[in-house]
Symmetry: C2
Subunit: 287 residues, 2 copies
Protein backbone atom coordinates (compact mmCIF):
# COMPACT_ATOMS: atom_id res chain seq x y z
CA UNK A 1 0.00 0.00 0.00
CA UNK A 2 1.23 3.52 -0.74
CA UNK A 3 2.26 5.32 2.45
CA UNK A 4 0.91 8.56 3.88
CA UNK A 5 3.28 11.41 2.92
CA UNK A 6 3.94 14.37 5.21
CA UNK A 7 5.93 17.49 4.36
CA UNK A 8 6.89 20.23 6.80
CA UNK A 9 8.28 23.66 5.93
CA UNK A 10 9.50 25.53 9.00
CA UNK A 11 10.86 29.06 8.72
CA UNK A 12 11.66 31.99 10.97
CA UNK A 13 8.31 33.69 10.40
CA UNK A 14 5.95 30.70 10.29
CA UNK A 15 5.57 27.02 9.47
CA UNK A 16 3.39 24.92 7.19
CA UNK A 17 2.65 21.21 7.01
CA UNK A 18 0.94 19.13 4.32
CA UNK A 19 -0.26 15.55 4.29
CA UNK A 20 -0.94 13.52 1.14
CA UNK A 21 -3.15 10.46 1.68
CA UNK A 22 -2.86 7.33 -0.51
CA UNK A 23 -6.15 8.32 -2.17
CA UNK A 24 -4.54 11.58 -3.36
CA UNK A 25 -6.33 13.81 -0.86
CA UNK A 26 -4.11 16.68 0.30
CA UNK A 27 -4.49 18.64 3.55
CA UNK A 28 -2.54 21.73 4.66
CA UNK A 29 -2.18 23.60 7.95
CA UNK A 30 -0.12 26.60 9.07
CA UNK A 31 1.53 27.40 12.42
CA UNK A 32 4.07 29.51 14.29
CA UNK A 33 7.81 30.13 13.63
CA UNK A 34 10.17 27.14 13.51
CA UNK A 35 13.79 28.23 13.36
CA UNK A 36 16.22 25.68 14.78
CA UNK A 37 18.18 28.38 16.59
CA UNK A 38 15.12 28.73 18.88
CA UNK A 39 14.87 24.98 19.40
CA UNK A 40 12.14 24.73 22.05
CA UNK A 41 9.83 27.13 20.26
CA UNK A 42 10.43 25.32 16.97
CA UNK A 43 9.67 21.91 18.51
CA UNK A 44 6.50 23.12 20.21
CA UNK A 45 5.21 24.85 17.09
CA UNK A 46 5.85 21.82 14.88
CA UNK A 47 4.21 19.48 17.42
CA UNK A 48 1.13 21.73 17.41
CA UNK A 49 1.28 21.77 13.61
CA UNK A 50 1.25 17.95 13.49
CA UNK A 51 -1.70 17.72 15.88
CA UNK A 52 -3.62 20.18 13.73
CA UNK A 53 -2.68 18.26 10.58
CA UNK A 54 -3.85 14.92 12.01
CA UNK A 55 -7.14 16.42 13.15
CA UNK A 56 -7.83 18.12 9.83
CA UNK A 57 -6.78 15.12 7.71
CA UNK A 58 -8.49 12.53 9.99
CA UNK A 59 -5.14 10.80 10.59
CA UNK A 60 -4.66 8.31 13.46
CA UNK A 61 -1.60 8.39 15.71
CA UNK A 62 -0.30 5.07 14.32
CA UNK A 63 -0.69 6.34 10.76
CA UNK A 64 1.42 9.37 11.65
CA UNK A 65 4.22 7.17 13.04
CA UNK A 66 4.25 5.12 9.83
CA UNK A 67 4.01 8.09 7.47
CA UNK A 68 6.93 9.06 5.23
CA UNK A 69 7.94 12.51 6.29
CA UNK A 70 10.43 15.20 5.22
CA UNK A 71 11.08 18.26 7.38
CA UNK A 72 12.68 21.40 5.94
CA UNK A 73 13.81 23.71 8.75
CA UNK A 74 15.54 27.10 8.67
CA UNK A 75 19.05 26.77 10.07
CA UNK A 76 19.04 22.98 10.42
CA UNK A 77 22.50 22.63 8.83
CA UNK A 78 23.96 24.49 11.81
CA UNK A 79 22.40 21.96 14.15
CA UNK A 80 24.12 18.62 14.72
CA UNK A 81 20.97 17.29 16.37
CA UNK A 82 18.69 17.04 13.34
CA UNK A 83 18.04 13.39 14.20
CA UNK A 84 17.15 14.37 17.79
CA UNK A 85 14.59 16.81 16.50
CA UNK A 86 12.92 14.14 14.37
CA UNK A 87 12.81 11.80 17.39
CA UNK A 88 11.44 14.55 19.68
CA UNK A 89 8.65 15.13 17.17
CA UNK A 90 7.66 11.44 17.24
CA UNK A 91 8.83 11.08 13.63
CA UNK A 92 12.04 9.05 14.08
CA UNK A 93 12.21 8.03 10.40
CA UNK A 94 11.67 11.56 9.04
CA UNK A 95 14.43 13.00 6.86
CA UNK A 96 15.52 16.59 7.39
CA UNK A 97 17.15 19.40 5.43
CA UNK A 98 17.33 23.17 5.66
CA UNK A 99 14.50 25.10 4.04
CA UNK A 100 16.69 26.20 1.11
CA UNK A 101 16.79 22.59 -0.15
CA UNK A 102 13.00 22.21 0.08
CA UNK A 103 12.58 25.60 -1.66
CA UNK A 104 14.83 24.50 -4.56
CA UNK A 105 13.18 21.08 -4.79
CA UNK A 106 9.71 22.62 -4.69
CA UNK A 107 10.53 25.19 -7.37
CA UNK A 108 12.20 22.80 -9.84
CA UNK A 109 10.53 19.47 -8.90
CA UNK A 110 12.37 16.89 -11.04
CA UNK A 111 13.89 19.45 -13.41
CA UNK A 112 17.26 21.18 -13.39
CA UNK A 113 17.85 24.91 -13.25
CA UNK A 114 18.66 27.93 -11.11
CA UNK A 115 16.36 29.05 -8.31
CA UNK A 116 16.47 32.69 -7.21
CA UNK A 117 14.65 32.73 -3.87
CA UNK A 118 13.69 36.18 -2.59
CA UNK A 119 11.59 36.79 0.48
CA UNK A 120 12.63 38.58 3.69
CA UNK A 121 16.08 37.09 2.94
CA UNK A 122 17.58 35.77 -0.30
CA UNK A 123 19.69 33.01 -1.79
CA UNK A 124 20.42 31.43 -5.17
CA UNK A 125 20.78 27.74 -5.92
CA UNK A 126 21.53 25.62 -8.95
CA UNK A 127 20.27 22.05 -9.21
CA UNK A 128 21.88 19.56 -11.61
CA UNK A 129 20.44 16.13 -10.95
CA UNK A 130 21.29 15.27 -7.37
CA UNK A 131 23.86 18.07 -7.09
CA UNK A 132 22.87 21.43 -5.62
CA UNK A 133 25.18 24.47 -5.39
CA UNK A 134 24.11 27.51 -3.38
CA UNK A 135 25.12 31.20 -3.16
CA UNK A 136 24.16 33.81 -0.55
CA UNK A 137 21.66 33.33 2.25
CA UNK A 138 24.09 34.81 4.78
CA UNK A 139 21.56 37.09 6.50
CA UNK A 140 20.86 40.83 6.34
CA UNK A 141 23.85 42.08 8.37
CA UNK A 142 26.38 40.78 5.82
CA UNK A 143 24.38 39.82 2.75
CA UNK A 144 20.87 38.89 1.55
CA UNK A 145 21.25 41.30 -1.35
CA UNK A 146 18.08 41.89 -3.40
CA UNK A 147 15.92 40.56 -0.53
CA UNK A 148 12.93 42.38 0.92
CA UNK A 149 14.86 43.31 4.08
CA UNK A 150 17.78 44.55 1.97
CA UNK A 151 15.41 46.61 -0.21
CA UNK A 152 13.77 48.23 2.80
CA UNK A 153 17.03 49.04 4.56
CA UNK A 154 18.45 50.46 1.36
CA UNK A 155 15.40 52.67 0.86
CA UNK A 156 15.84 54.18 4.35
CA UNK A 157 19.57 54.61 3.77
CA UNK A 158 18.98 56.40 0.47
CA UNK A 159 16.29 58.59 2.06
CA UNK A 160 18.91 59.75 4.61
CA UNK A 161 21.43 60.29 1.79
CA UNK A 162 18.88 62.49 0.04
CA UNK A 163 18.91 64.70 3.17
CA UNK A 164 22.71 64.88 2.88
CA UNK A 165 22.68 65.85 -0.80
CA UNK A 166 24.24 62.49 -1.68
CA UNK A 167 21.16 60.99 -3.38
CA UNK A 168 18.30 62.45 -5.43
CA UNK A 169 15.30 63.76 -3.48
CA UNK A 170 12.60 61.75 -5.23
CA UNK A 171 8.89 61.64 -4.42
CA UNK A 172 9.41 58.25 -2.77
CA UNK A 173 12.32 59.55 -0.64
CA UNK A 174 10.08 62.40 0.58
CA UNK A 175 7.26 59.96 1.30
CA UNK A 176 9.55 57.81 3.46
CA UNK A 177 10.92 60.78 5.38
CA UNK A 178 7.39 62.07 6.03
CA UNK A 179 6.23 58.65 7.20
CA UNK A 180 9.03 58.35 9.78
CA UNK A 181 8.76 61.97 10.86
CA UNK A 182 12.08 62.97 9.33
CA UNK A 183 15.65 61.71 9.36
CA UNK A 184 15.81 61.35 13.16
CA UNK A 185 12.73 59.10 13.05
CA UNK A 186 14.31 56.94 10.34
CA UNK A 187 17.43 56.52 12.51
CA UNK A 188 15.30 55.69 15.60
CA UNK A 189 13.46 53.02 13.58
CA UNK A 190 16.77 51.52 12.42
CA UNK A 191 18.02 51.05 15.99
CA UNK A 192 15.38 48.37 16.64
CA UNK A 193 14.40 47.15 13.18
CA UNK A 194 14.47 43.40 12.50
CA UNK A 195 14.84 42.13 8.91
CA UNK A 196 11.06 41.62 8.72
CA UNK A 197 10.51 45.29 9.68
CA UNK A 198 12.65 46.45 6.77
CA UNK A 199 11.03 43.88 4.46
CA UNK A 200 7.61 45.37 5.21
CA UNK A 201 8.64 48.34 3.00
CA UNK A 202 9.33 46.13 -0.04
CA UNK A 203 5.85 46.20 -1.64
CA UNK A 204 5.90 50.01 -1.61
CA UNK A 205 9.39 50.09 -3.13
CA UNK A 206 8.27 47.76 -5.93
CA UNK A 207 5.25 49.97 -6.55
CA UNK A 208 7.35 53.17 -6.64
CA UNK A 209 9.84 51.51 -9.00
CA UNK A 210 6.97 50.47 -11.25
CA UNK A 211 5.91 54.14 -11.34
CA UNK A 212 9.43 55.15 -12.40
CA UNK A 213 10.72 56.69 -9.15
CA UNK A 214 14.51 57.06 -9.53
CA UNK A 215 15.37 56.08 -5.97
CA UNK A 216 13.19 52.95 -5.99
CA UNK A 217 14.49 52.05 -9.46
CA UNK A 218 18.12 52.35 -8.28
CA UNK A 219 17.38 49.84 -5.50
CA UNK A 220 15.88 47.36 -7.96
CA UNK A 221 18.78 47.89 -10.38
CA UNK A 222 21.35 47.09 -7.67
CA UNK A 223 19.32 44.06 -6.61
CA UNK A 224 19.16 42.83 -10.22
CA UNK A 225 22.93 43.43 -10.57
CA UNK A 226 23.55 41.11 -7.63
CA UNK A 227 21.20 38.45 -9.02
CA UNK A 228 22.87 38.63 -12.45
CA UNK A 229 26.32 38.19 -10.90
CA UNK A 230 25.13 35.25 -8.82
CA UNK A 231 23.41 33.59 -11.80
CA UNK A 232 26.60 34.02 -13.86
CA UNK A 233 28.65 32.29 -11.14
CA UNK A 234 26.20 29.38 -11.07
CA UNK A 235 26.04 29.04 -14.87
CA UNK A 236 28.59 30.70 -17.12
CA UNK A 237 26.93 29.40 -20.30
CA UNK A 238 24.02 31.82 -19.90
CA UNK A 239 21.50 29.15 -20.93
CA UNK A 240 20.33 27.50 -17.69
CA UNK A 241 16.62 28.10 -16.95
CA UNK A 242 15.95 30.47 -14.02
CA UNK A 243 13.05 30.24 -11.60
CA UNK A 244 12.04 33.22 -9.41
CA UNK A 245 10.80 31.85 -6.07
CA UNK A 246 9.84 33.21 -2.64
CA UNK A 247 7.28 35.90 -1.85
CA UNK A 248 9.17 38.62 -3.74
CA UNK A 249 11.02 36.63 -6.44
CA UNK A 250 8.34 36.85 -9.13
CA UNK A 251 8.10 40.62 -8.61
CA UNK A 252 11.65 40.99 -9.96
CA UNK A 253 10.63 39.61 -13.38
CA UNK A 254 9.72 43.00 -14.83
CA UNK A 255 13.07 44.52 -13.84
CA UNK A 256 15.31 41.84 -15.38
CA UNK A 257 17.23 42.42 -18.62
CA UNK A 258 15.75 40.87 -21.75
CA UNK A 259 18.15 37.92 -22.05
CA UNK A 260 17.47 36.85 -18.47
CA UNK A 261 13.72 37.34 -18.84
CA UNK A 262 13.75 34.86 -21.73
CA UNK A 263 15.24 32.17 -19.49
CA UNK A 264 12.53 32.40 -16.82
CA UNK A 265 10.48 29.32 -16.00
CA UNK A 266 7.56 29.28 -13.56
CA UNK A 267 8.02 27.63 -10.14
CA UNK A 268 6.64 24.09 -10.04
CA UNK A 269 5.70 24.56 -6.39
CA UNK A 270 6.52 25.95 -2.96
CA UNK A 271 8.98 24.80 -0.28
CA UNK A 272 6.10 22.79 1.21
CA UNK A 273 5.60 21.04 -2.12
CA UNK A 274 9.35 20.40 -2.06
CA UNK A 275 9.11 18.77 1.36
CA UNK A 276 6.25 16.52 0.17
CA UNK A 277 8.26 15.60 -2.93
CA UNK A 278 11.25 14.67 -0.81
CA UNK A 279 9.00 12.56 1.45
CA UNK A 280 7.72 10.76 -1.66
CA UNK A 281 11.28 10.10 -2.83
CA UNK A 282 12.19 8.70 0.57
CA UNK A 283 9.21 6.35 0.31
CA UNK A 284 10.40 5.05 -3.05
CA UNK A 285 13.92 4.41 -1.83
CA UNK A 286 12.68 2.60 1.26
CA UNK A 287 13.41 -1.16 1.25
CA UNK B 1 39.60 87.16 37.58
CA UNK B 2 39.62 84.60 34.77
CA UNK B 3 37.26 81.74 35.46
CA UNK B 4 38.01 78.04 35.77
CA UNK B 5 37.17 76.34 32.46
CA UNK B 6 35.78 72.81 32.26
CA UNK B 7 35.19 70.76 29.12
CA UNK B 8 33.43 67.39 28.96
CA UNK B 9 33.39 64.99 26.00
CA UNK B 10 30.94 62.14 26.50
CA UNK B 11 30.59 59.39 23.94
CA UNK B 12 29.12 55.92 23.63
CA UNK B 13 32.39 54.16 24.45
CA UNK B 14 33.85 56.47 27.12
CA UNK B 15 34.02 60.02 28.46
CA UNK B 16 36.75 62.56 29.16
CA UNK B 17 36.85 65.78 31.16
CA UNK B 18 39.44 68.54 31.28
CA UNK B 19 39.84 71.52 33.58
CA UNK B 20 41.89 74.64 32.78
CA UNK B 21 42.82 76.75 35.81
CA UNK B 22 43.37 80.53 35.60
CA UNK B 23 47.11 79.92 35.93
CA UNK B 24 47.07 77.83 32.72
CA UNK B 25 47.38 74.48 34.46
CA UNK B 26 45.41 71.75 32.65
CA UNK B 27 44.13 68.49 34.17
CA UNK B 28 42.42 65.59 32.37
CA UNK B 29 40.52 62.50 33.54
CA UNK B 30 38.72 59.68 31.71
CA UNK B 31 35.60 57.70 32.63
CA UNK B 32 32.82 55.39 31.43
CA UNK B 33 30.34 55.74 28.54
CA UNK B 34 28.04 58.77 28.41
CA UNK B 35 25.43 58.46 25.70
CA UNK B 36 22.25 60.45 26.38
CA UNK B 37 20.06 57.56 25.22
CA UNK B 38 21.21 55.73 28.40
CA UNK B 39 20.50 58.74 30.59
CA UNK B 40 21.07 57.33 34.08
CA UNK B 41 24.35 55.66 33.16
CA UNK B 42 25.52 58.83 31.41
CA UNK B 43 24.66 61.01 34.43
CA UNK B 44 26.39 58.69 36.89
CA UNK B 45 29.51 58.39 34.75
CA UNK B 46 29.81 62.15 34.28
CA UNK B 47 29.24 62.79 37.99
CA UNK B 48 32.06 60.36 38.78
CA UNK B 49 34.17 62.06 36.13
CA UNK B 50 33.63 65.47 37.79
CA UNK B 51 34.56 64.13 41.24
CA UNK B 52 37.75 62.65 39.81
CA UNK B 53 38.52 65.90 38.01
CA UNK B 54 38.08 68.02 41.16
CA UNK B 55 40.27 65.67 43.18
CA UNK B 56 43.04 65.58 40.59
CA UNK B 57 42.96 69.35 39.91
CA UNK B 58 42.55 70.29 43.59
CA UNK B 59 39.28 72.06 42.82
CA UNK B 60 36.82 73.01 45.59
CA UNK B 61 33.08 72.40 45.26
CA UNK B 62 32.32 76.15 45.06
CA UNK B 63 34.92 76.61 42.32
CA UNK B 64 33.21 73.86 40.30
CA UNK B 65 29.82 75.58 40.61
CA UNK B 66 31.32 78.86 39.36
CA UNK B 67 33.37 77.30 36.56
CA UNK B 68 32.54 77.92 32.90
CA UNK B 69 31.66 74.56 31.46
CA UNK B 70 30.73 73.07 28.09
CA UNK B 71 29.45 69.51 27.76
CA UNK B 72 29.54 67.64 24.44
CA UNK B 73 27.36 64.52 24.63
CA UNK B 74 26.57 61.87 22.03
CA UNK B 75 22.92 62.07 21.05
CA UNK B 76 22.11 65.22 23.01
CA UNK B 77 20.23 66.80 20.10
CA UNK B 78 17.60 64.08 20.38
CA UNK B 79 17.09 64.97 24.02
CA UNK B 80 14.85 67.91 24.92
CA UNK B 81 16.16 67.81 28.48
CA UNK B 82 19.74 69.06 27.89
CA UNK B 83 19.15 71.77 30.50
CA UNK B 84 17.91 69.14 32.98
CA UNK B 85 21.11 67.17 32.50
CA UNK B 86 23.26 70.21 33.26
CA UNK B 87 21.22 70.87 36.41
CA UNK B 88 21.39 67.23 37.50
CA UNK B 89 25.18 67.41 37.18
CA UNK B 90 25.31 70.46 39.48
CA UNK B 91 26.45 72.61 36.54
CA UNK B 92 23.30 74.68 35.88
CA UNK B 93 25.17 77.25 33.78
CA UNK B 94 26.93 74.72 31.56
CA UNK B 95 26.26 74.87 27.83
CA UNK B 96 25.66 71.66 25.91
CA UNK B 97 25.96 70.34 22.39
CA UNK B 98 26.30 66.95 20.73
CA UNK B 99 29.79 65.55 20.40
CA UNK B 100 29.95 66.26 16.65
CA UNK B 101 30.02 70.00 17.39
CA UNK B 102 32.84 69.65 19.93
CA UNK B 103 34.74 67.40 17.50
CA UNK B 104 34.48 70.01 14.72
CA UNK B 105 35.38 72.87 17.08
CA UNK B 106 38.32 70.92 18.49
CA UNK B 107 39.67 70.00 15.07
CA UNK B 108 39.41 73.48 13.51
CA UNK B 109 39.65 75.73 16.62
CA UNK B 110 39.01 79.26 15.26
CA UNK B 111 39.64 78.31 11.64
CA UNK B 112 37.23 77.33 8.89
CA UNK B 113 37.29 74.06 6.96
CA UNK B 114 35.87 70.58 6.55
CA UNK B 115 36.22 67.97 9.28
CA UNK B 116 36.07 64.30 8.30
CA UNK B 117 35.54 62.45 11.59
CA UNK B 118 36.10 58.69 11.44
CA UNK B 119 36.04 56.42 14.47
CA UNK B 120 33.60 53.58 15.20
CA UNK B 121 31.08 55.78 13.35
CA UNK B 122 31.59 58.62 10.87
CA UNK B 123 30.36 62.07 9.89
CA UNK B 124 31.54 65.09 7.90
CA UNK B 125 31.10 68.74 8.86
CA UNK B 126 31.96 72.11 7.33
CA UNK B 127 32.52 75.15 9.53
CA UNK B 128 32.26 78.67 8.09
CA UNK B 129 32.48 81.15 10.96
CA UNK B 130 29.52 80.43 13.22
CA UNK B 131 27.80 78.24 10.63
CA UNK B 132 28.25 74.45 10.67
CA UNK B 133 26.78 72.06 8.08
CA UNK B 134 26.93 68.32 8.69
CA UNK B 135 26.60 65.15 6.57
CA UNK B 136 26.24 61.51 7.70
CA UNK B 137 26.47 60.27 11.25
CA UNK B 138 23.29 58.22 10.85
CA UNK B 139 24.63 55.04 12.47
CA UNK B 140 25.88 51.72 11.08
CA UNK B 141 22.52 50.18 10.11
CA UNK B 142 21.82 52.89 7.50
CA UNK B 143 25.08 54.78 7.06
CA UNK B 144 28.40 55.58 8.76
CA UNK B 145 30.21 54.84 5.49
CA UNK B 146 34.01 54.74 5.74
CA UNK B 147 33.81 54.27 9.54
CA UNK B 148 35.62 51.54 11.46
CA UNK B 149 32.37 49.60 12.00
CA UNK B 150 31.50 49.94 8.30
CA UNK B 151 35.00 48.75 7.31
CA UNK B 152 34.78 45.68 9.57
CA UNK B 153 31.27 44.71 8.46
CA UNK B 154 32.28 45.13 4.82
CA UNK B 155 35.34 42.93 5.30
CA UNK B 156 33.17 40.10 6.68
CA UNK B 157 30.62 40.58 3.90
CA UNK B 158 33.35 40.41 1.23
CA UNK B 159 34.88 37.34 2.88
CA UNK B 160 31.49 35.59 2.51
CA UNK B 161 31.25 36.80 -1.10
CA UNK B 162 34.66 35.24 -1.76
CA UNK B 163 33.13 31.90 -0.68
CA UNK B 164 30.32 32.48 -3.21
CA UNK B 165 32.69 33.28 -6.08
CA UNK B 166 31.44 36.88 -6.08
CA UNK B 167 34.64 38.48 -4.70
CA UNK B 168 38.34 37.66 -5.05
CA UNK B 169 39.75 35.15 -2.55
CA UNK B 170 42.62 37.27 -1.22
CA UNK B 171 45.06 36.39 1.57
CA UNK B 172 43.13 38.72 3.88
CA UNK B 173 39.77 37.08 3.01
CA UNK B 174 41.26 33.66 3.86
CA UNK B 175 42.69 35.04 7.12
CA UNK B 176 39.25 36.31 8.19
CA UNK B 177 37.50 33.06 7.30
CA UNK B 178 40.12 31.06 9.25
CA UNK B 179 39.79 33.36 12.26
CA UNK B 180 36.01 32.90 12.46
CA UNK B 181 36.15 29.18 11.70
CA UNK B 182 34.61 29.53 8.25
CA UNK B 183 31.57 31.19 6.74
CA UNK B 184 29.13 29.82 9.35
CA UNK B 185 31.29 31.35 12.11
CA UNK B 186 31.27 34.73 10.35
CA UNK B 187 27.46 34.60 10.15
CA UNK B 188 27.18 33.61 13.84
CA UNK B 189 29.40 36.57 14.80
CA UNK B 190 27.24 38.94 12.72
CA UNK B 191 24.07 37.93 14.58
CA UNK B 192 25.34 39.56 17.79
CA UNK B 193 27.97 42.04 16.61
CA UNK B 194 27.71 45.65 17.82
CA UNK B 195 29.33 48.45 15.76
CA UNK B 196 32.36 48.39 18.11
CA UNK B 197 32.81 44.63 17.42
CA UNK B 198 33.02 45.27 13.68
CA UNK B 199 35.26 48.31 14.24
CA UNK B 200 37.77 46.12 16.10
CA UNK B 201 38.73 44.69 12.69
CA UNK B 202 39.62 48.11 11.25
CA UNK B 203 43.33 48.20 12.20
CA UNK B 204 43.90 44.86 10.46
CA UNK B 205 42.04 46.05 7.35
CA UNK B 206 44.21 49.18 7.20
CA UNK B 207 47.31 47.04 7.57
CA UNK B 208 46.22 44.60 4.82
CA UNK B 209 45.38 47.53 2.53
CA UNK B 210 48.83 48.99 3.19
CA UNK B 211 50.30 45.65 2.11
CA UNK B 212 48.32 45.81 -1.14
CA UNK B 213 45.60 43.19 -0.42
CA UNK B 214 42.91 43.65 -3.09
CA UNK B 215 39.97 43.02 -0.77
CA UNK B 216 41.19 45.43 1.90
CA UNK B 217 42.06 48.01 -0.77
CA UNK B 218 38.56 47.79 -2.27
CA UNK B 219 37.08 48.61 1.15
CA UNK B 220 39.32 51.66 1.53
CA UNK B 221 38.55 52.76 -2.05
CA UNK B 222 34.80 52.64 -1.41
CA UNK B 223 35.28 54.52 1.87
CA UNK B 224 37.33 57.19 0.12
CA UNK B 225 34.67 57.41 -2.61
CA UNK B 226 32.06 58.23 0.03
CA UNK B 227 34.31 60.82 1.69
CA UNK B 228 35.05 62.47 -1.66
CA UNK B 229 31.33 62.69 -2.47
CA UNK B 230 30.59 64.17 0.96
CA UNK B 231 33.43 66.69 0.73
CA UNK B 232 32.19 67.74 -2.74
CA UNK B 233 28.68 68.36 -1.36
CA UNK B 234 30.10 70.49 1.47
CA UNK B 235 32.43 72.49 -0.83
CA UNK B 236 32.01 72.47 -4.60
CA UNK B 237 34.99 74.77 -5.15
CA UNK B 238 37.44 72.01 -4.26
CA UNK B 239 39.60 74.41 -2.24
CA UNK B 240 38.36 74.21 1.35
CA UNK B 241 40.95 72.75 3.76
CA UNK B 242 40.15 69.26 5.05
CA UNK B 243 40.98 67.88 8.49
CA UNK B 244 40.94 64.13 9.21
CA UNK B 245 39.74 63.61 12.79
CA UNK B 246 38.71 60.72 15.04
CA UNK B 247 40.67 57.59 15.85
CA UNK B 248 40.74 56.36 12.25
CA UNK B 249 40.54 59.60 10.25
CA UNK B 250 44.31 60.22 9.93
CA UNK B 251 44.79 56.63 8.71
CA UNK B 252 42.82 57.49 5.56
CA UNK B 253 45.43 60.09 4.49
CA UNK B 254 47.56 57.60 2.55
CA UNK B 255 44.56 56.36 0.54
CA UNK B 256 43.27 59.77 -0.61
CA UNK B 257 43.76 61.04 -4.18
CA UNK B 258 46.54 63.57 -4.69
CA UNK B 259 44.34 66.69 -4.98
CA UNK B 260 42.58 65.90 -1.70
CA UNK B 261 45.85 65.05 0.05
CA UNK B 262 47.13 68.54 -0.79
CA UNK B 263 44.19 70.12 1.04
CA UNK B 264 44.80 68.29 4.31
CA UNK B 265 45.45 70.28 7.47
CA UNK B 266 46.32 68.75 10.84
CA UNK B 267 43.67 68.73 13.58
CA UNK B 268 44.13 71.59 16.07
CA UNK B 269 42.81 69.36 18.86
CA UNK B 270 40.37 66.71 20.04
CA UNK B 271 36.66 66.89 20.90
CA UNK B 272 37.75 67.54 24.50
CA UNK B 273 39.82 70.52 23.35
CA UNK B 274 36.71 71.64 21.47
CA UNK B 275 34.62 71.48 24.66
CA UNK B 276 37.22 73.56 26.55
CA UNK B 277 37.31 76.09 23.70
CA UNK B 278 33.53 76.40 23.79
CA UNK B 279 33.65 76.86 27.58
CA UNK B 280 36.20 79.67 27.06
CA UNK B 281 33.96 81.34 24.48
CA UNK B 282 31.02 81.16 26.87
CA UNK B 283 33.17 82.85 29.50
CA UNK B 284 33.97 85.73 27.15
CA UNK B 285 30.36 86.30 26.22
CA UNK B 286 29.25 86.25 29.84
CA UNK B 287 28.07 89.66 31.13
Amino acid sequence: MRPVLIGIDGGGSGSRAACLLPDGHRTEVTGGPANVSLREEALNNIKALLVALCTKAGLQREQLAEAKCHIGLAGVLEDQGAKDIAVALGLPKATMSDDQITTITGALADGDGIVVAIGTGSFLGRKQGEHIRRIGGWGLALGDEASGAWMGRRALSLALKSCDGLAPVTAFARRILDRFDGAAGVVRFSLRAAPSDYAALAPEILQAAGQGDDMALSILRDGVGYLQAGIAVLDDTGTCPVCLAGGLGPHYAGFLPHDLKERLIPAAGTALDGALLMAARNAEFDP
